[in-house]
């Protein structure tokens, strides 16, 4: 636990908690400071008001009966429990009456409000310190300081030059301030402790998550692409992140698998034509040959390499289409016109092979796409249909239809050949280089349908192989809105 602490200090959670802690502490100090100063000011104003009232009362007593009455009232009020401070002194500051025994020198020399709190001692307090039992004489002044108490007062000079002072002890505001101070310290302490606690737990949680992610990613980096980051199921941001990364990993694994499969297939399927190419060249070199023989061998070699180049071009095109191609090549394309063109292009081929061939097209159907790519895809599909239906049944037939079904524009090429009865085979037929066993004898790269599918995917459409009745039906679906 202890060795993990430095690591925890480095987590974002720890840094954030430290920052928040600091900010909150600062705010708390400012708030408390503001509150104490405000309430201290309020208490002071209240004290001053009380003193003013007292002074007014004493002034009325003085008017009523002069010094004797004033002295009596002062004596009387001084004896009340929790009384204010009263002091009557001769012009020299000698205390004559009241409940103040001694006072900070100089206070009485200035008339008006004392500028600063001053210290004083009440009657009986000096004795009270000597005789603890007398402490009860001044219950309201619990021992705050050893030397005396602080107070504020107003000092007046009577017409006969005598000095009257009325004051009030500051014990209460000071006690209030100390209470605030203590609670502030407590609050800060608790905040600090709470912050540290949150810091530790949040930091540790984050660390645990990140450590597990690190472990998992190291495993993946080591080559195990099937590995996934842990998802706790809490649905928090770590989970969301892990889920996204896992989706990414799945995509990478899928692409990687595709790549691996393609390279395997390339190696496998190109080996055959390359071997043929080599044998042809070798055969041309051996034995006695005429010029015509050489010519024929070389022409065969060229034809073979052209087929190889074709295959490579198809592979390249598929990978470019799968990589997303560039969207700028999309344009308004009239599918009906493309169907017409391609059907017209293949019509003589179908006729030559004895395959009935016809197209049913309603009217112009405009999609957003690339004319060349769509033509390429359709020609691949038609080429397949003609090739595989020819000679397989008594009256081979290929039909091309173009119509709209709800939001989908459907271009369908159906033949009445042997089809692909097995559903798994149908699904596999559009994969790269997959040539179902029965078709191995037919010429072709095995890329025709994969390229067509890539073109359809590129157009946000689909290419599905459906069982015909009989035969095979290839459905090319383009997304199309009704208002096109």
């Amino acid at each position: 636990m202890a060795f993990r602490l430095p690591a925890i200090m480095k987590t974002t959670a720890a840094r954030l908690s430290a920052l928040y802690l600091l900010l909150f502490a600062l705010c708390a100090v400012l708030l408390v400071f503001y509150m104490t100063s405000l309430s201290a000011r309020m208490l002071l104003a209240q004290t001053q008001e009380t003193i003013n009232e007292e002074v007014q009362g004493l002034a009325r007593a003085y008017q009523r009966g002069g010094i004797p009455v004033l002295v009596r009232v002062v004596e009387q009020r001084s004896r009340q429990p929790g009384a204010n401070l009263y002091l009557l002194a001769d012009p020299n500051g000698q205390i004559l009456s009241g409940n103040v025994e001694s006072i900070q020198p100089g206070v009485l020399q200035r008339e008006g409000w004392t500028e600063l709190p001053f210290s004083y001692e009440r009657y009986g307090e000096a004795a009270g310190r000597r005789q603890p039992s007398a402490a009860a004489a001044a219950p309201e002044t619990e021992t705050l300081t050893e030397v005396g108490h602080n107070a504020i007062a107003v000092v007046l000079r009577l017409p006969n030059q005598m000095i009257l002072m009325v004051g009030r002890d500051l014990g209460e505001p000071e006690r209030f301030r100390s209470v605030i101070q203590r609670s502030l310290m407590l609050a800060l302490g608790m905040m600090g402790f709470g912050g540290l606690l949150i810091w530790y737990f949040v930091g540790r949680r984050a660390l645990k998550h990140i450590d597990s992610v690190s472990v998992a990613s190291r495993r993946i980096m080591a080559g195990d692409l099937s590995g996934r980051l842990p998802v706790t199921g809490a649905g928090d941001e770590f989970d969301r992140l892990s889920e996204n990364l896992n989706t990414m990993l799945a995509r990478i694994a899928h692409l990687n698998d595709g790549l691996k499969q393609v390279s395997d297939n390339i190696a496998h399927d190109l080996k055959t034509p390359l071997t043929r190419l080599r044998n042809r060249a070798e055969a041309a070199l051996s034995g006695k040959k005429t010029g015509a023989d050489y010519r024929e061998a070389l022409e065969g070699t060229i034809a073979e390499s052209d087929q190889l180049i074709r295959t490579f071009n198809a592979i390249l095109m598929i990978s470019r289409l799968e990589a997303g191609y560039s969207a700028e090549s999309l344009d308004k394309v009239d599918l009906a016109a493309v169907v017409h063109d391609v059907v017209e292009l293949y019509e003589p081929v179908a006729e030559e092979l004895g395959v009935g061939f016809e197209a049913t097209v309603a009217g112009p159907v405009v999609v957003n796409g690339n004319r060349e790519l769509i033509a390429q895809a359709l020609s691949n599909v038609i080429d397949n249909a003609i090739k595989y239906s020819a000679g397989s049944v008594e009256k081979p037939h290929v039909g091309v239809t173009l119509n709209r079904d709800g939001d989908e524009i459907r271009l369908q090429v159906a033949d009445n050949g042997l089809g692909i009865p097995d559903e798994g085979d149908r699904a596999r037929a559009t994969e790269r280089f997959v040539r179902l066993e029965k078709s191995r004898s037919q010429p072709g790269s095995g890329l025709g349908l994969s390229l067509a599918k890539a073109v359809m995917t590129y157009h946000n459409g689909r290419l599905d192989l459906l069982p015909g009745n009989p035969g095979l039906s290839v459905l090319m679906g383009f997304p199309g809105s009704k208002d096109d």
Binding site: R310, S329, P348, S445
Partner: protein, 238 residues
């Protein structure tokens, strides 16, 4: 247009070709092969010197690689065009996407060929591009031997005997006759007669040609539509 127009066949002899290609080996091969076909080819190894040569001398066709050191092929073409140079240009490119072709032609190229290509394809295209070739677009009557087409009435006659063709067959024959005496490849036909640039897996063009051949040769003594092995077709009398 050019004073050589009247010399029916002579225009294709001894073309002056400039090859701007940084791949030394490919350029040497092209130079040799063009020479064998009876043409003179000069080679420039980068965009700058290619531009300077094309700007200074009169060539019949320029063969420009798209990716060149110092100055990009498309910029060379655009530069020449902005200086009023209208020499036909064939762009060679390793980039083969549909967009690349479009941008290449938009930059001022007249034809576009993707690597790897067959030299026979390149030669056929270059010969068709020849600046000195007669502009037969405007002629209303094409005649090769005893075969003639009237481009106004769309009628085809051989030895005064009318031949009925489907619209596409007519366009196919029209293109072949416009380039009579020149080799025309299958992709050139697909591009110019069908206006598509994709790769049909089966040689569909061959079937169209044999159909056309059946109509214009059947019942006549001499073959007129010849197959050039490893290259394409040529319409030629005799």
């Amino acid at each position: 247009m050019s004073p050589l127009t009247s010399h029916k066949i002579a225009y294709n002899d001894g073309m002056k070709i400039l090859v701007i290609e940084d791949d030394r080996e490919a350029a040497d091969y092209m130079q040799k092969a063009f020479a064998e076909a009876g043409h003179t080819a000069h080679v420039a190894g980068d965009g700058d010197s290619g531009f300077a040569l094309a700007d200074a001398a009169e060539y019949d066709v320029l063969v420009v690689d798209r990716m060149l050191p110092r100055r990009d092929g498309l910029s060379v073409i655009a530069g020449l065009r902005s200086r009023g140079n209208t020499t036909p240009v064939l762009i060679l490119s390793a980039l083969g996407e549909v967009d690349d072709r479009v941008t290449g032609l938009r930059a001022g190229g007249d034809d576009y060929l993707t690597k790897p290509y067959a030299f026979s394809e390149l030669l056929a295209r270059v010969e068709v591009l020849n600046r000195r070739a007669p502009a037969r677009e405007s002629e209303t009557l094409y005649r090769v031997g005893d075969l003639e087409i009237d481009r106004l009435s769309h009628t085809v006659r051989r030895a005064s005997q009318e031949i009925i063709l489907q619209p596409r067959e007519y366009r196919l024959l029209e293109y072949l006759m416009r380039h009579a005496g020149q080799v025309v490849t299958r992709t050139m036909l697909l591009e110019n007669v069908w206006d598509y640039h994709f790769d049909p897996q089966t040689n569909v063009i061959d079937v169209h040609i044999s159909r056309l051949r059946g109509k214009i040769e059947k019942g006549f003594e001499k073959p007129i539509l010849h197959t050039i092995r490893g290259a394409g077709y040529m319409l030629k009398a005799g």
